[in-house]
Structures are given as structure tokens and as C-alpha cells.
């Protein structure tokens, strides 16, 4: 049980940390100054969320690993984030669609986790929910703007939607760890929030006259540490300092 709770908390922490690092990659590179600030502000919220979750996971584990040890001293195969979140920043449309798919999901996820029997997770969820709400608003507005924009913006967001769609199935998977914790009233039944997620996606896509992909084949593996080739490239710059100078503090 403690082991399941550690595993579960680490998944959520890794999601926040990896997405944060991806978003931070836009610093100085976004389309305009306001968007640069927006994406890095979202990154900051994700760092805050990751810190709370890693710190809690470290306490559950009880081996003296703090938030930094858990974030910076683990290898790719030990990371259990969703594959969606490690996908590259190839194009602004990719970053927006990645954020939109995830925010639409995680808002529902935090809303459900708020009533977890685990008080710490419930407390973190109540904070994170408020932030996910405006992350969703930001990305949804961009989905509409790009989809309803020029021929160029529309073709690029369509390509991003088509490519990232196969990474959305993983969000709703329930494995043994999640199922066992859900039965105890601790974890969220992720499969149960899928209809609401579909509704949210459909509504926003309809505003921009974008089609929801019909593909049913989904990528999986992130929760077991099986990643795309991209994760190592996310970790390298993120972990460099602590790997090269272990324990270094500012």
C-alpha cells in the first residue's frame, strides 16, 4: 500500500516535472513576449506542483530522498510520466495541443482527486485544480485561434492533433497500482473521467471547426518507464548540474 502510494504519487510528480521542463524550453522562443511569459508561467505552476508531489513521495518512501533527489537523480526508465508530456516542442501548435489535451484531462483529474481519502493528495489537488483551470483556458483559446486562423495555422494544428492523438489513451489507463488505490478511495478512477474529457475536447474543437481524430490505436508504456526516445533529451539538460556536481546548492 505505501509502495503503491509512492508509485502513484511519483507518476503525478513526473508528469508535472517533465511538462514543466518542456514548457520551459519555450523561454525566449515563443511567438511573442506575452506568450513567452504565459508558457513559462504555466511551467512555474508545474514546478510548484512537482515539488509538492516529490516532497510527499519522498516522505512516503522514507529513505531520505528529497524532492531534488527524486527529480534529478533518476534515469529515464525510472520516470513514469505520460508519454504525451515528453513529446518535443517541434512547433508551437504541438505545444498548444499537448497542453490542451493534458489540461482538459488533469483539470477533471484534480477535481476527482480533491475527494481522495489521502489528505495530502487531496490538498495538492485542490491547489492544482485552480491552476489547471486557467491552463486549460489558455490552451483552449489558442486551439480555437489556430484552428480558426489562417490556412497555415490550421494545417499546423491539424498535424499536431493527428500526431499527439495516439498519446491520449494513456491518461485513462488503470493498472494494478491505480486500481488498488482507487478501491481504497485514494486514487482517481481515470477511466471514468474519459467521457467528460471527450466532451471538453469536442466542444472546443467544434468552435474551431476542427475534427476529433477517430484513431483508436494508442501508445502506452510511460507509467512503466518505457518511453519515447525524447525523454533522455528532456532529462539531460534538466539533470546536468546535479549529475556533474552532485549535491550542489545555490
Amino acid at each position: 500500500m505505501a509502495n503503491d502510494l509512492f508509485t502513484y504519487t511519483m507518476r503525478l510528480a513526473d508528469d508535472a516535472a517533465i511538462l514543466s521542463q518542456r514548457l520551459a524550453g519555450w523561454c525566449g522562443h515563443a511567438s511573442h513576449l506575452e506568450e513567452d511569459i504565459a508558457l513559462t508561467n504555466i511551467a512555474l505552476d508545474q514546478i510548484g506542483c512537482a515539488r509538492l508531489l516529490y516532497a510527499y513521495a519522498g516522505e512516503i518512501e522514507g529513505k531520505g530522498r528529497d524532492e531534488d533527489a527524486l527529480c534529478f537523480n533518476r534515469n529515464e526508465r525510472e520516470f513514469t510520466n505520460l508519454l504525451l508530456l515528453e513529446q518535443p516542442n517541434d512547433d508551437f501548435a504541438y505545444a498548444i495541443v499537448r497542453q490542451f489535451f493534458y489540461s482538459a484531462y488533469v483539470l477533471l483529474f484534480w477535481q476527482a482527486l480533491k475527494s481522495s481519502k489521502d489528505e495530502r493528495l487531496a490538498g495538492i489537488a485542490a491547489k492544482a485544480e485552480k491552476e489547471a483551470a486557467y491552463h486549460l483556458r489558455h490552451s483552449a483559446e489558442w486551439v480555437v485561434r489556430l484552428g480558426d486562423g489562417t490556412e497555415e495555422s490550421r494545417s499546423r494544428i491539424e498535424e499536431a492533433i493527428e500526431f499527439l492523438w495516439m498519446y491520449t489513451g494513456e491518461m485513462f489507463e488503470m493498472d494494478e497500482v491505480a486500481t488498488a488505490l482507487a478501491e481504497q478511495g485514494i486514487a482517481v478512477d481515470a477511466a471514468a473521467i474519459k467521457p467528460a474529457w471527450n466532451k471538453s475536447i469536442n466542444e472546443v474543437f467544434a468552435r474551431a471547426d476542427l475534427s476529433v481524430p477517430t484513431g483508436t490505436w494508442m501508445q502506452t508504456g510511460g507509467r512503466n518507464g518505457e518511453h519515447s526516445e525524447h525523454l533522455g533529451h528532456v532529462l539531460a539538460p534538466m539533470q546536468y548540474l546535479q549529475r556533474a556536481y552532485p549535491g550542489l546548492v545555490w
Binding site: 506575452e34 506568450e35 511569459i37 504565459a38 508561467n41 504555466i42 512555474l44 505552476d45 508545474q46 514546478i47 510548484g48 506542483c49 515539488r51 509538492l52 489528505e119 487531496a122 490538498g123 495538492i124 485542490a126 491547489k127 492544482a128 485544480e129 485552480k130 491552476e131 483551470a133 486557467y134 486549460l136 483556458r137 489558455h138 483552449a140 483559446e141 466542444e203 472546443v204 468552435r207
Partner: protein, 173 residues
């Protein structure tokens, strides 16, 4: 907003507590120096133990808010200056901070400082709804959101269509 609880039985317990509470409540937001952490709703509790040590409980506005570190340092300094040597600052997450906790007086101070205060109450808007934000300079409602994100986590960037000034809006969460 903050509760004050005494764990002391000595005659001047309430005086000490009041002194500690006043010191903690005097700390201002480093990024919005016109409002205190008490007015912001960040300060949740101040307790003075029998040995004279103080525990200050605060709650973060946003999970990644960098000002939290500064809050902790400033609280320690304020209490030290008030004569309390042993100070502990604890952070709690529940109940989650909301901009609804800001008093009318605090909202007025924000406006006078040039920041539009939160409109309405948290969680009351739909995905594409936009609040009617009044320009803090000229009061016009002919304003436009430039970005959901501004100079700090708690603010969005707006501009006024009447006086043409850009301004920050303190988000309603």
C-alpha cells in the same frame, strides 16, 4: 483573516500573541508592496508556545509562487525585530487559497496601486467567459485582456480602450 490561538497560561500570554500576530501581519507582499500577507489571506495562523517560540502558518497563493520564499524570510525578520527569537514558519495547503479571501479594503489598495482587483468570485466563470474588468486608472469597462499571464503568477495583463494604459489584473481563482 488569520486566526490567532494562544497556548499560554501566563498573564501576558495574550499580549505576546498579539505582538507576534501584529509583527507577522505587517509583512507585505514583495511584489505588491501595498498589501500585507494578512490582507492577501496568506497568513493563516500565529501561535505562541509556553517557551516563547512562535509558529506562523501560511498558505501559498500559487503552487510555484517564488514570493513564498521571501514571505518566509520576511516573517522571520519581522518577528525577530519584535523580539521573538525562535520562529517557525509552516506552510499548509488546505483549505486552498482563493482570491475571495481578500478584503474590500485590500482590493481598494490594489486598485489605488494600479492593479485591477479580482472580479466576482472564484470558480464562477465558464471556459470562454471573460470578466468585466474595470481599468484601475480611469474606471472604464472598455478593457481588453492581452494575456492570461502577467508579471507574476497572480496577475493577467490587460489594456484599457479608453485611456489606452496597460495594467495588471489580479486573477480571480
Amino acid at each position: 483573516m488569520a486566526r490567532a490561538s494562544a497556548h499560554l497560561a501566563t498573564p501576558n500570554a495574550s499580549d505576546l500573541l498579539e505582538k507576534a500576530r501584529a509583527a507577522a501581519a505587517s509583512v507585505v507582499d514583495p511584489e505588491i508592496p501595498v498589501i500585507t500577507i494578512e490582507e492577501l489571506g496568506v497568513l493563516r495562523d500565529v501561535a505562541v508556545e509556553a517557551d516563547g517560540s512562535v509558529t506562523v502558518t501560511i498558505t501559498p497563493t500559487y503552487t510555484g509562487c517564488p514570493a513564498m520564499t521571501v514571505f518566509v524570510m520576511d516573517i522571520e525578520v519581522a518577528l525577530d525585530e519584535a523580539g521573538f527569537e525562535q520562529v517557525r514558519v509552516e506552510t499548509v495547503l488546505s483549505p486552498a487559497w482563493t482570491s475571495d479571501w481578500m478584503s474590500e479594503a485590500a482590493r481598494e489598495k490594489l486598485r489605488a496601486y494600479g492593479i485591477a482587483p479580482p472580479v466576482g468570485s472564484a470558480g464562477s466563470t465558464g471556459l470562454f467567459d471573460k470578466p468585466d474588468v474595470a481599468c484601475p486608472r480611469c474606471g472604464s469597462l472598455k478593457t481588453e485582456r492581452i494575456s492570461e499571464f502577467g508579471s507574476t503568477a497572480c496577475k493577467a495583463l490587460y489594456k484599457c480602450g479608453s485611456c489606452h494604459e496597460p495594467f495588471d489584473y489580479f486573477k480571480c481563482i
